[in-house]
Symmetry: C2
Subunit: 247 residues, 2 copies
Amino acid sequence: MAADPLKNIRVVLCETAHPGNIGAAARALKTMGLAQLFLVAPERYPDPQAEWLAVGATDVLRRAHVCASLDEALAGSAFTVACTARPREVAVPMVAAREAAARIVEVARTQSVALVFGNETYGLTAAEVGKCQLLATIPADPKFSSLNVAAAVQVLAYELRLAAWGATVRNRSGEPPEHATHEEIERFYEQLERSLLEAGFLNPRNPKKLMARLRRLFGRTQLEQEEVNILRGVIKTLAHPKKKQQR
Amino acid sequence: MAADPLKNIRVVLCETAHPGNIGAAARALKTMGLAQLFLVAPERYPDPQAEWLAVGATDVLRRAHVCASLDEALAGSAFTVACTARPREVAVPMVAAREAAARIVEVARTQSVALVFGNETYGLTAAEVGKCQLLATIPADPKFSSLNVAAAVQVLAYELRLAAWGATVRNRSGEPPEHATHEEIERFYEQLERSLLEAGFLNPRNPKKLMARLRRLFGRTQLEQEEVNILRGVIKTLAHPKKKQQR
């Protein structure tokens, strides 16, 4: 019962022909925090081409489980999902990748889940799809919907990570930026207006007109505290150059 | 003023070292309905390796614009977004890929947008990032956040397609499945209950108990009209086998 649902998700590649795709899939998994790779009857594995494309994910690649059959790769999974570009005749429900990821992560919080990808050329057979409980498909251009298998693994792994951990982004310090408060921004506008009036840039009879446009501009940017301080420094310096002050 | 915002989005690859990545990026774009590829000083282009990995997207690959500088590739774009794995020192705001895609598509409904990717090894320089108005980042495992550049193009292109057209999935006939109506489902349950009672499977004094469990089971599946018909056929046949009827 892993605290990290991604650790309960195995990705199964069926009869992959090109070892480069196995390596690239290993890298795709590792970037998203997944680590369980299962290979059903790979054409060439291990292979230097796989190592080369795995780049820093050779650990995931080398720990891959090689299986003789899909049944062997699915053993122990409580939920099995097949990823396919093609609408199927089989009576397995189909959902978009995003919804599939949400369902997978929900199950993976307590049980093992398998996500299955087919061969580069012929995909998954009807029998293979029939062993799965859900079909996941990546919305694509219907005129050219064939993603490379490692690219499809990357998209699904990405959706799984977002389903598990959300789409939060941290800035350099690891903390979300401190947005400026209303008062800080108002003081900035007051200073700006005063300075522009003094400098003769605003029409004293209608100073609000240009200020409204400037407010619209800055209002769109969600100013951070530090940025407001910088802007105020800029205005102060422009209005009262340091050289002049030093005289 | 394209009706399809994806046609207004160009993807710019800066100083790509491996031609295979250029080909794979072309394929990634085409699967998502994008077609404008710009290459800033690629190491090798054209190249058979790029053709090989583009598979059915050689049209996108061959129409790629080769530029000497990033400025040349950005000319005419009203919104420029840099995709990067690394938090940056530069004063460009950073958002997750999904939010970036929403903003890009909004602008691309009326104007040209550029999405910029860096070299495989050293990414984008600070000067290159500085030419962009927004940083987009793909949420990844902080311990190993380096996606292959074509894989990153695939994820962003996927998010752009979803932002433009939504995550709808169509079944084989191209029509959304016809969900069964409440009445159809109720008639199915009535038939099921009657048949199970007749068959002695339900406790006549408390037939509702097992029916409630069966309702919960089928209730989760969002039955389609056709499926209800199939289920009713199954029950009818089981309760009154055709062989028996023929006798």
